[in-house]
């Protein structure tokens, strides 16, 4: 009964979304207040029904109700509870239900926080949001229904793919979807602005927090996915330029550009066309990512062609929304009023530079991801575009962007003074050059990694210098503390975001240039020296868990000092139901950021194939992204960004700006 309640709730949500997609927009056109006023309550109601639906599916998974096909195909009664729950979105149907649930959640939040949005804008935004929702409800109900049932249910399920039975992958999809779907809000605002034919600074102010929220979640989601690939797949890599990864990177790049564009629009009433276009692009790329991952087109173009129902449906959604919004953009963009003028060397100019490079970066990833698919679909030829392509295209594009990054925040709006900026950053430049030289001398006269370390230093110290300069630490240390408190939180957010990029780059450079890798067959009793560690294979121990059996290889590791040896236990698991092996790596962190990494491969005679890696500073990659996300959150808490704060604007701005009130 609960399952069927969930199914009916989903159908009701579709019916409500249909009303929401037509009536409020009709009202906005006709100036009918009653019709426009429907948008808010319906989007909240829509969310409630989807939430019921999602809860019902979760219930079916928790109690192992194998009369639900989705549960049978992706669950097993012996699976630990956390994976019974995460199994809800660990499969196609369930993850699409999560997608629409998050879409409805964002719609409800806009309705709730946007109560003092201009009436027509609110009606149009929620109307456009409902178009997206209708398309995806239909997709879920007609091609990927998670509530399909069996008349004669089997007694046991097929279990979730063992690779997905992992904490990292339990939280990765929700984070990623919060990011993907969050951009739908920016998209809806952009489409609404185009429909109304007007866009202003207020618009950007409402859009920015939503974009920022989506960006934070997407950043965390990508980082989580990357860390999962690192420790679970057992290959020691953290980014594979795999189409699934690229699918999430593209909206992130576009979203990052959008975030910066929206600042210009909010503060300077400029870059309107850029902002609208980027909002459309960010969400279109999110849809593309969903299409790539969910249509099965990546597994095999041919498999997709033989069972095309789902793929064609998503492709239809993609064409409808991307094509529709771009057409709308082409027709209406010219009618938007132009923003203020600015000199090439100015904060606006720097942000245009940023947009250009991020967009170009997105385009290279786009080509590298889709070209092989196109080729396979048209000629049948299979090629793989991997790291070398992206290293040669995406890498060089990012270098000028990163060099320019610390200078941007120093530039004044409208017209900046590049010489003054260079003066303020002179000390940082000197320190960065020193970092290059020191690295070059200490690390074997290798110039590329040395330059990488220099760039990372430039980024970290440059963003630090900016915040120190703002609080006048070097010129008037007496007032620094007071100024630090008075500084808008978005300034701290900028600092953290940019600093995080430097930290991440340092991790990438160190891991890439100085990792040590040993692949060998080891027997019990063997030992090997890796960097300063002595890794000794003691013995193999069998063990079993709730739904798997494993062989643990017990290693004793001494680090060349008097520290007591530590035990590392990588293992090879076999999940009983699918008889599928997975690698459980053993990872030990040294000196805060560096890791020793052990993974078992296949058994080879009496021994076992081992992959042993030393990964210097590898954790900085994810710590950097974490710092970036924290920057986003800090910026989000800036009061000036709150949408529709109920207090009168005069009081709100006074409370938010003590510095100005003095």
């Amino acid at each position: 009964m609960i399952v069927e309640i969930g199914h009916y709730a989903l159908v009701l949500a579709l019916a409500l979304a249909l009303v929401q997609s037509v009536v409020p927009i009709w009202g906005a056109v006709k100036g009918d207040e009653r019709a426009m006023a429907l948008a808010g309550p319906i989007s909240v109601g829509q969310f409630l029904f989807v939430a019921v639906s999602f809860a019902a599916l979760t219930y079916a998974h928790v109690v192992s109700d194998f009369s639900v096909v989705n549960v049978f195909e992706n669950s097993h009664s012996t699976k630990p509870m956390i994976y019974k729950v995460s199994g809800v979105w660990g499969n196609h149907e369930g993850s699409m239900l999560l997608w629409v649930s998050i879409l409805a959640l964002f719609g409800a939040l806009v309705a709730f926080f946007g109560r003092n949005l201009p009436q027509t804008l609110r009606a149009n935004v929620l109307g456009v949001q409902a178009w997206v929702a209708v398309a995806f409800y239909l997709f879920v109900l007609l091609t990927s229904n998670p509530f399909a049932r069996f008349g004669q249910p089997p007694m046991e399920g097929r279990d979730l793919n063992p690779l997905l039975q992992d904490v990292g992958l339990a939280i990765h999809p929700p984070l990623l979807y919060l990011g993907y779907v969050g951009f739908s809000i920016a998209f809806s605002f952009a489409a609404a602005a185009l429909i109304e034919g007007r866009i202003d600074a207020a618009w950007a102010r409402w859009v920015r927090p939503w974009t920022l929220t989506a960006w934070v979640f997407l950043t965390l989601g990508i980082a989580m996915g990357s860390y999962w690939a690192y420790y679970e797949l057992g290959w020691g890599g953290w980014w594979f330029w795999d189409p699934v990864e690229n699918a999430s990177l593209m909206p992130w790049l576009a979203g990052t550009a959008l975030l910066h564009s929206a600042i210009v629009m909010e503060k300077r009433d400029g870059l309107k066309i850029w902002t609208i276009l980027l909002a459309i692009l960010a969400f279109s790329l999110s849809l593309l990512g969903t299409f790539l991952v969910r249509s099965g087109v990546l597994t095999s173009v041919h498999a997709f062609a033989t069972d095309p129902a789902r793929g064609v449906f998503i492709l239809g959604i993609l064409v409808l929304f991307v094509g529709g919004s771009l057409t709308l953009f082409a027709a209406r963009a010219a009618t938007l009023t132009k923003g203020g003028l600015f000199a090439p060397v100015s904060r606006e100019g720097a942000l245009v530079f940023n947009n250009l490079f991020l967009t170009a970066g997105t385009a290279t990833v786009f080509v590298g991801t889709l070209y092989p698919l196109m080729l396979e679909a048209t000629t049948g030829g299979k090629i793989s575009v991997g790291a070398p392509f992206f290293d040669m295209t995406f890498g060089p594009l990012m270098v000028p962007l990163l060099i320019a990054l610390p200078m941007g925040p120093f530039l004044a709006w409208k017209r900046g003074d590049i010489l003054a900026v260079v003066q303020r950053l002179a000390a940082v430049m000197v320190l960065s050059v020193v970092a290059v030289l020191v690295t070059w001398i200490l690390k074997g006269h290798d110039i590329l990694p040395a330059l990488g370390v220099g760039l990372a230093t430039w980024l970290m110290l440059g963003s630090l210098a900016e915040i120190l300069w703002r609080i006048k630490l070097f010129t008037e240390p007496g007032v620094s503390l007071r100024r630090a408190v008075g500084l808008p939180r978005s300034a701290w957010g900028t600092f953290l975001g940019h600093f995080g990029v430097g930290v991440m780059l340092l991790g990438i450079v160190a891991e890439g240039a100085w990792k040590i890798e040993h692949v060998l067959v080891m027997k019990p009793g063997d030992h090997i020296r890796v960097e300063r560690f002595d890794v000794a294979f003691e013995r193999a121990v069998p063990n079993s868990g709730p739904n798997w059996d494993e062989v643990i290889a017990r290693f004793k590791v001494t680090d060349g000092t008097s520290n007591p040896p530590i035990v590392m236990e990588p293992s090879k698991r076999t999940y009983r139901t699918r008889s599928m092996p997975t690698t459980e790596t053993a990872i030990e962190t040294y000196g805060l950021f560096s890791q020793l990494y052990l993974a078992i491969g296949e058994a080879q005679g009496e021994g076992v194939a081992m992959r042993i890696y030393w990964k210097p500073l590898v954790l900085l990659i994810w710590i950097g992204t974490l710092i970036m996300s924290i920057g986003g959150v800090v910026s989000l808490t800036d009061r000036r960004l709150r949408v529709g704060a109920p207090t009168p604007h005069r009081a709100a701005s006074a409370a938010a700006m003590p510095a100005a009130a003095e």
């Binding site: 009303v19 019709a35 027509t120």
Partner: protein, 389 residues
């Protein structure tokens, strides 16, 4: 019936979400575009003061920016006259929409849903009365019992043959291993384990199976069944002389009235023929016809025994190839010189079975042409054609 009440309740909620705000009296107050815009510009003016304070912009630039923003405020103000405030509105559209909601929802759900199907949580199904339960459900119950009491030897011994019956040889072998682990080694348990391994390994006596039979012999040195399998294993490995010796030993252990003796003699003859390199002539169907329960399946008597054994020794690919050659031979004969109806039917069935559907269609056409005047034959051909997918 509760479910219908809940459906009705949900529908009423959905309809009221659409209706209530539409029927409520409008308060006539709503944020206009301009108010929001002006608020932003005022904040910006304040921010300029702060930027001046922070030294980000000089006073001259600040004045320019203030002038710019003031111009924008004026422009936003002009919009107030241009756009008329929306007010009121018709009730017709929301009411129409509210009517559509249940129609859409019920219509779609009627096509997709299973309103009468109850939830079936696994726990509840396991504790349900066993009457009418399928074999799978019984197995699941025993499995659950054994998961909780893994040392219940009797449970494993009950479960193992059931797994065999379901064709889950790997699980059956694991169950026997568990029975040996918990109940201690006995010759019977090792024999069963060995038989399971042989059945699961395409009737090949794997080293694992051999080990099981050898263990059984250690416990009961007079066992016959393990000797049967070990002898088969010797022939399988090409140790022909040793196989003959092993079969002689088995035959020598018989007193003369054992049910397995006939099979053992036949196997001995076969092994001797094999050793001498001459074709084995199977004896006429043995008087003690039904094969002994202890006899291995590969020793089943019958004219085709050698063929079957030859096929059993082949790899799956070789076997498929052999069948294909046989079918092709039959096809060549029938297509060129024709033959009786039964041969045609056999050919079509075989071709369909091994995936030569096109050829099967051609054979069907040729057969129809050959028996054009024979209504009974055509009817059988049609029945076969109809049965084909």
């Amino acid at each position: 019936m509760l479910i219908w009440a809940l459906f009705a309740g949900m529908t009423i909620i959905a309809v009221s979400i659409v209706l209530v705000p539409a029927l409520r009296r409008r308060r006539g107050e709503s944020a206009s575009v301009e108010a929001g815009e002006v608020a932003v510009y005022r904040d910006q003016l304040a921010e300029i003061d702060r930027d001046v304070e922070a030294g980000l912009v000089g006073t001259v630039e600040a004045d320019a920016a203030r002038a710019e923003i003031s111009r924008r405020i004026l422009r936003a103000g002009r919009h107030v006259d241009a756009t008329r405030a929306a007010s009121g509105g018709s009730r017709l559209v929301p009411i129409l929409a509210a009517v559509l909601v249940p129609i859409i929802a019920v219509g779609l759900y009627a096509r997709l849903g299973h309103p009468t199907m109850p939830d079936m949580p696994l726990e509840a199904r396991k504790t349900a009365a066993p009457a009418g339960n399928s074999l799978e459900e019984l197995v699941a119950k025993v499995e659950a019992h054994l998961a909780a009491n893994p040392n219940d030897t009797r449970g494993w011994e009950v479960l193992a043959p059931t797994y065999m019956h379901l064709g889950r040889f790997d699980l059956a072998a694991a169950a026997w291993r568990n029975a040996i682990r918990t109940g201690g080694p006995t010759d019977r348990r090792y024999n069963e384990l060995g038989r399971t391994l042989v059945a699961g390994g395409d009737d090949q006596v794997s080293p694992e199976a051999r080990a099981a039979f050898e263990k059984s012999l250690e416990i009961e040195p007079n066992g016959i069944l393990p000797r049967f399998f070990l002898a088969v294993a010797l022939s399988q490995d090409g140790k022909k002389a040793e196989a003959v010796a092993a079969w002689k030993d088995i035959v020598g252990r018989g007193k003369g009235d054992e049910p397995w003796l006939a099979d053992a003699r036949e196997e001995l003859a076969r092994a001797e023929a094999d050793l001498a390199g001459r074709p084995f002539e199977p004896p006429a169907p043995a008087p003690a016809a039904p094969s002994a329960p202890a006899a291995p399946s590969t020793a089943a008597p019958g004219p085709s025994a050698s063929d079957v054994e030859a096929a059993a020794k082949m790899s799956p690919e070789e076997r498929a190839k052999m069948i294909e050659t046989m079918v092709d031979r039959l096809r060549d004969r029938l297509w060129t010189s024709g033959g009786p109806l039964d041969d045609w039917l056999r050919l079509i069935r075989f071709q369909t079975m091994i995936g030569q559907t096109d050829a099967a269609g051609q054979s069907l056409d040729k057969a129809r042409a050959a028996f054009a005047g024979d209504a009974a034959a055509l009817a059988r051909l049609d029945a076969l054609a109809g049965a084909k997918p």
